[in-house]
Symmetry: C2
Subunit: 889 residues, 2 copies
């Protein structure tokens, strides 16, 4: 039997079904399925993606295709009693649409009313008894066909249309006269002939082949190709072509069109929800030129079709076991379904629908979990802007940390602290932030920066704190010393109210009310299911007992990254660390660090108590020491005075610690190597805290983590030092606690020599932020000047600081994991970069067999859900492929 | 037959020979060989490294060892007619020395006179008739044995010795009386008993086993272990123990000791060369307490032994076919050879000896080539300080670029240019240099910086120019604005003369005369042989026609890296590039760049002409644009004025281009991607220049190189652009030239996705400087504060910016090469980092199968020689292993 290129559907019979999406595209497969279900669908046929592939490879359609199309047209004629190109009786008019497996911008969209020419138009006019309808349909056809098939500049058509409106003195196309439209058809036909040098094709068959080829050609159009490259969609998927009998909702008071959802897409409530227009075509509902009515109005206006629609939509939903978005038309009292597909929905609706469908027995808990997009879940946890208020937008920056907050503008972190103490909500506005600003950030409602990207200091810290942040809002121009910033020519003074929407990146003038989130019972149940399915553990990145407690509420199973540097920035503490920096020998350094010891110890005690029963990974001091030194002349003088030292000494120290590339400088384990007293003090603080809380009955599992290791020997040295301190502490206190010593793998070299590092290290935590920076050779702080362009132009599919670059950085994670486990079978491996909370990165970590991911508290539910979905899809590699492609769409 | 643990040598017979270095160590194998040659050697035996391994594994010597040692002692007694521990007749005294395959600091050195106790001392006194000799030998034995075997603090012995000198009122140990020494023996014996709690072992056999075990134990001493770890020497090599009959050069006027070389080690001339002391032991010659005589004096003083020595040394050299360093003793008119080994020599001597030995028919040209250390060769090319002058040293920095030069101190590059134009030799003194300083550096005799490391900007540029540079001289304190620098409390003013010795890092006050190098005919012949053996091509890094010509003289076969950024710094040029930076649209950028086009083109023409017939790899603009902008307020005002722009605009531009980590910022291909006009201009300049010189008959092979590629797509984009420009140029000029487009692999991600990059790229050049920076996460500029400590403490075996880190970065080079060649079989692969001129890195590149290395002009001969040696050793993997270990020693 020869290959089949064309699949018919109509009158309850179909050659295809919903499982043939590869062959028929999503639209074609669903039309076949609906037909098979007995749902009224205008009959038609689908030319398969095989034919498209043949066309791409051979440069022409398969030789059998014309006759197959002809046979199917005949079948349509038979089914409808109409004739394709018939100048007698009813002419058969067709729609032609592309339909790939995945919807894809840049593909040819739709040609309606195909089959019209001067003769069929006359026949239609006779049959429909509605001249205006006929000429309007005809001019629409010529316009669409001219534009998308023949490539005539669409402005030409619009100009002629506008001229006609002027001439007839009307504002809407719907008010144009039949005669006017008839003349317009003529004008359009001439326009096409002028532009193409050939007359508009009047032969319906020629029209049809033109449209089919145009669909195939559009598969390799620039925009579609760029989209596929960007989303890594294979070029050989191809598109199908759907050819379908036209039906008309604009044939009088017994006709209409609408779009509807089987459940409320914003709340998820199980109610039929949608919009409807009497005497209108589908495009009129979408275009918004007339105000559509609520779908319930249809009950009154078209009671019969409405009853049928209610029954049909319910049947479709039960059939697909998924909330559906349907399009329909009523032609002279008769209902036709034109499309069905899974409906888009809010996060809240997704959760409610999934859980209720389980209760209704439609789907399993496994399926319910896969029905919620992890990326959306975070929306549920943060306050949002009150949608009732019309905002006054000043600028749009990067949506760096979600949530909404309002506060008074402050430019200086100290002012932020002062005002916050007075009970004023503040928003800290800075060019960019540094660890110095931590205390000011901690008291602010939100943070706004004019520089920096999604992973700038401000963004990372704000996400960690669960505070809204808009970063890199380049439209605003900050004059902090003069007490104002400018945006859109407006000057916003210190103390004025602004509101940030961290989810969209919008900066709004004034105090826009926000609404607090409420976690639903359904959400709780869904997450409980998810936890039952996942294999990956989910920890959190948290530096304070408050963050730790918050993350625990969100389901964190330990801390994967507790940064200790923020603990050094209190007024008293920074003085001690500065003393250490100025000290000239180990003993004076120890004395200075000794002052920090009790404070650090008490920090750790709080965190251990909050994480009772769970492991806590503490990273030793990481940033270069110059971050603890002042920058300006004034601040240097202050420091000299506060410490009773000559100004020159301070200046020399600042100068000595200045670095050309601090990211690649004297930081991480390099500090512990050159100044082992820091490691000594921190190890002691951690272990003394552990012993103390263990005495209180807390179950404490400290994991001490050495950052920025590149060389196995530097890790070994630190490991020895920590173990020596541990023995001292345990002997002094007369009590031991279990602990691990491990390292971050955040430099390419560490991944390459992971086997040797794992000989000593008991755990690895991939620091994918720095690993991405060094593998790409891109500083996050400086990437704003080129990275956005890279993503825009499709040179990179995603921001690699947000979504783990599996092609490159992922190789290092895989290599590090395999080599590390090769040397130490029970090596605990996790990830603690920003990527720990990104769903596709979590999926990647699951497949690599990592033990856990760690992310900021508000991303914990995202990671839990993503980990569950990864585990559910794992069994079925095809489903996995689906998932990959779905995350694309 | 059971395993043998002990190897005898003496009286012309030996169980071992020179090929058993693994088993007998270097010293033991050579003693056996000399004995077999019939050279007079005091008889003895060697306990093998197998015994040492047994000792390390089992914690005890092999059970058969004691009886084997006993048998060999008996053989020694028979041979010498002396008795071990004999209180009648002549007592047999022994030396015990460690002897591993490689000489290794930290191993037990020597115990002499073993076998003495109160009774054997009496017997020796009777036999030698020299009481003083006996008690001096005895106290030396107790002192050495107490120190190295029993671990008694050597200060205790020295204190007692010093007390005796005071009591006898003498200054030298040689003046002490026999009675005094006899008393000292008693004091030493008591000292040992007090310190160890046991009497000093008087049984010679117990003494011997104590010494043997001490040698074995010293193999695992801290210093020896650290040394092995540092040099990656396997721990299981083990050491041998050499036990040998004592002979004495201090037995009167017919006795003596000496050390000698078979050829002059500083010139290589074929003359017997050495030093000699009458009536003295070997250690006296070395200690320098008496002035040794030239070896020729021995002819007069000990004519018989001298004649024998002359004959023996000649025989030894012919036997080993290598210049030897020998030690000998004459005891009562009888010559004994105590050691022979290959002699250390200067670079000039190495070349002369190797070539003359070929002429003498001793060795092949292949062997001659392997006899010269490539690292030494560079010494021959640079001027050196006149050794006759006593220098006044101000400071020592890093020996960043070899050669010696004197000049007047200048702090400002513009002053350097001005003074140089007036004919004054100048030395530019800066904290660190930047591309801004290029013109000033170019006219200076040498460069001195107080910051930065071996691969700082100053160091790299100076090496490229073949100018001496001392970098990171932290002892000097620069006050450039006040016109002086300080060192050692002395103030050196602008205009004063200083001299730099780039080979040692010394900074000297005043104008020390230098001597120009003269390349010998032997050098020329040696390099010609080397070129015949090597497979790797050697190119040079050169940015000017002058450098290119110089490198060609040194044997460069093309340019592997021509940086274009230096070409942008002339007064006129920088104005144009600044105009481009300030321009707001592509057209104005093109206009500004258009001014640079003719200048760039003429630069390239000069370089192409200088490299007629060889390929020239030109790297497109690499540094971030802010390097072309001024920094200080004053300079910004100047720029604004010169360009007729408002100061604010300049300030905004400077601010906008400021970067937190410029090394990881907006540079390399990221410039060409965001500002394609730069690529357009540079491609045009290169190809127009190529067409122009091709018309003149020059054979031109341009290779256009895109820097800092991380993503295949960014390379593809640039490649398309360059090829489009090329077609335009070829059409305009009516002539085509062949050219390649390739990329640097200098980011870890590029190595990881090298297969995809090679789909488009025609060549790879590993930029191992940046690859090392990103793989390690270490900024060269900032590494000074920790990297030296890492190397000092053995955390890293070498500075990875000088010697390629094969363990880590090497994996990326290998991966990039294999994956690249996997995708494109004929991919041309080279390396153009600093490592291109480092011998061990060149060897690594040879083994990876790279096509070429590229290095600074003065390193070209180094690389040629290293490449030849790598090829010669390749065939023989054992020889290869030797080579690896030799580079360690």
């Amino acid at each position: 039997m020869s290959a089949r290129w064309v699949y018919y559907f109509g009158d309850g019979e179909a050659d295809g079904n919903q499982n043939l999406k590869d062959l028929l595209g999503g639209k074609g497969a669903n039309l076949a399925e609906l037909t098979l279900m007995g749902v009224p669908v205008p009959p038609g046929f689908t030319i398969s993606t095989d034919a498209c592939r043949h066309y791409m490879e051979q440069g022409d359609v398969p030789p059998e295709l014309p006759s197959e199309v002809q046979r199917n047209i005949a079948r349509l004629e038979e089914s409808t009693g109409k004739g394709f190109g018939a100048s007698e009786g009813q002419p058969l008019l067709l729609s032609v649409r592309s339909g790939a497996k995945l919807s894809m911008p840049g593909m040819m969209d739709t040609v309606l009313n195909l089959g019209l020419n001067d003769r069929t138009a006359q026949a239609l006019a006779r049959e429909s008894d509605d001249e205006r309808f006929v000429w309007d349909s005809y001019r629409r056809f010529v316009q669409m066909y001219g534009d998308v098939v023949l490539g005539v500049d669409h402005h030409a058509f619009e100009a002629a249309l506008s001229e006609l409106r002027d001439r007839e003195g009307v504002k809407q196309d719907t008010e144009l006269s039949a005669d006017g439209l008839k003349g317009l058809v003529r004008t359009f036909l001439d326009l096409v002939e002028d532009a193409t040098g050939s007359p508009f094709p009047s032969d319906p068959e020629e029209q049809l082949w033109g449209a089919i080829n145009a669909v195939f050609d559009s598969w390799n159009g620039d925009r579609a190709m760029a989209y596929r490259r960007h989303h890594r969609i294979p070029d050989d998927l191809g598109t199908a072509v759907n050819v379908q009998t036209m039906v008309y909702g604009n044939m009088g008071a017994d006709s209409g069109s609408g779009v509807a959802f089987t459940r409320d897409p914003s709340t998820g409530e199980k109610v039929f929800y949608g919009e409807f227009l009497l005497n209108a075509q589908g495009e009129d509902v979408v275009a918004g030129t007339r105000d559509p009515l609520p779908i319930t109005e249809m009950e009154r206006l078209l009671p019969g079709p409405y009853a049928e629609l209610l029954e049909v939509q319910d049947r479709i939903e039960r059939h697909y076991r998924e909330m559906q978005d349907v399009e329909f038309t009523v032609e002279r009292g008769r209902l036709y379904m034109l499309q069905t597909r899974a409906g888009k929905r809010t996060a809240a609706a997704a959760v409610r629908i999934a859980v209720e469908m389980v209760d209704e027995g439609l789907i399993s808990p496994e399926t319910a979990v896969t029905r919620v997009d992890p990326e959306q879940v975070e929306q549920l946890l943060h306050p949002g802007l009150d949608p009732a208020v019309e905002p006054d937008q000043l600028a749009v920056g990067l949506p760096a940390s979600p949530g909404a907050a309002a506060g008074r503008v402050v430019f200086d972190p100290d002012d932020a602290v002062r005002l916050a103490e007075e009970g004023e909500p503040v928003v800290l506005v800075r060019q960019e932030t540094s660890p110095d600003d931590f205390s000011g950030m901690a008291v602010s409602q939100g943070i706004l920066t004019s520089r920096g990207g999604m992973t700038s200091h401000a963004a990372v810290v704000a996400r960690g704190m669960g505070k809204p942040c808009v970063a890199g809002a380049r439209e605003i121009d900050i004059h902090g010393r003069d007490g104002y910033f400018e945006a859109q020519g407006r000057r916003i003074k210190e103390g004025e109210w602004i509101t940030l929407d961290g989810a969209s990146g919008r900066v709004l003038l004034g105090r826009v009310p926000t609404v607090e989130p409420e976690l639903s019972e359904q959400f709780r149940r869904l997450m409980e299911w998810a936890d039952g399915f996942r294999r990956l553990r989910v920890r959190t990145n948290a530096d304070t007992p408050q963050d730790a407690a918050k993350a625990r509420e969100f389901g964190a199973e330990g801390i994967g990254l507790c940064r200790t540097e923020h603990m050094f920035f209190g007024a008293e503490r920074i003085l001690a660390i500065r003393e250490m920096i100025l000290a000239s020998d180990a003993e004076s350094r120890r004395t200075a660090l000794g002052k920090l010891l009790p404070m650090q110890q008490s920090d750790f005690e709080g965190i251990f108590r909050a994480m009772d029963g769970y492991p806590v990974t503490i990273r030793l001091l990481d940033p270069p020491l110059h971050e603890f030194l002042p920058h300006g002349d004034e601040e240097m003088e202050e420091m000299a005075q506060a410490m009773g030292r000559p100004l020159l000494q301070v200046k020399v120290a600042v100068e000595r610690h200045r670095e050309a590339n601090p990211m690649l400088g004297h930081r991480g384990v390099r500090l512990g190597t050159t100044v082992p007293e820091i490691t000594e003090m921190q190890a002691r603080a951690i272990l003394q805290a552990a012993v103390k809380v263990a005495e209180e009955g807390v179950s404490v599992l400290p994991e001490i983590m050495i950052p920025l290791v590149a060389v196995p020997e530097e890790f070994q040295r630190q490991d020895q030092l920590i173990r020596a301190v541990a023995e001292l502490v345990f002997n002094e206190r007369g009590r031991r606690v279990d602990y691990l010593v491990g390292t971050m793998i955040e430099l390419p070299r560490a991944a390459l020599v992971a086997d040797r590092i794992a000989e000593t290290a008991e755990f690895f935590s991939f620091g994918t932020n720095d690993l991405t920076q060094t593998a790409f050779g891109i500083s996050r702080d400086d990437s704003g000047s080129f990275l956005p362009l890279y993503i825009e132009q499709g040179l990179l599919p995603e921001d690699p600081f947000r979504v783990l670059d599996q092609e490159g950085v992922g190789q290092l994670v895989e290599m590090g994991t395999q080599r590390g486990r090769g040397a130490r079978q029970d090596l605990k491996v996790g990830i603690c970069g920003e990527h720990g909370g990104d769903p596709s990165s979590v999926t990647f970590c699951h497949h690599l067999g990592l033990d856990y991911v760690s992310c900021s508290p508000f991303r914990v539910p995202v990671a839990r859900l993503a980990a569950a979905i990864a585990a559910l899809y794992e069994a079925d590699t095809e489903a996995q492929e689906e998932q990959r492609l779905q995350t694309v769409g």
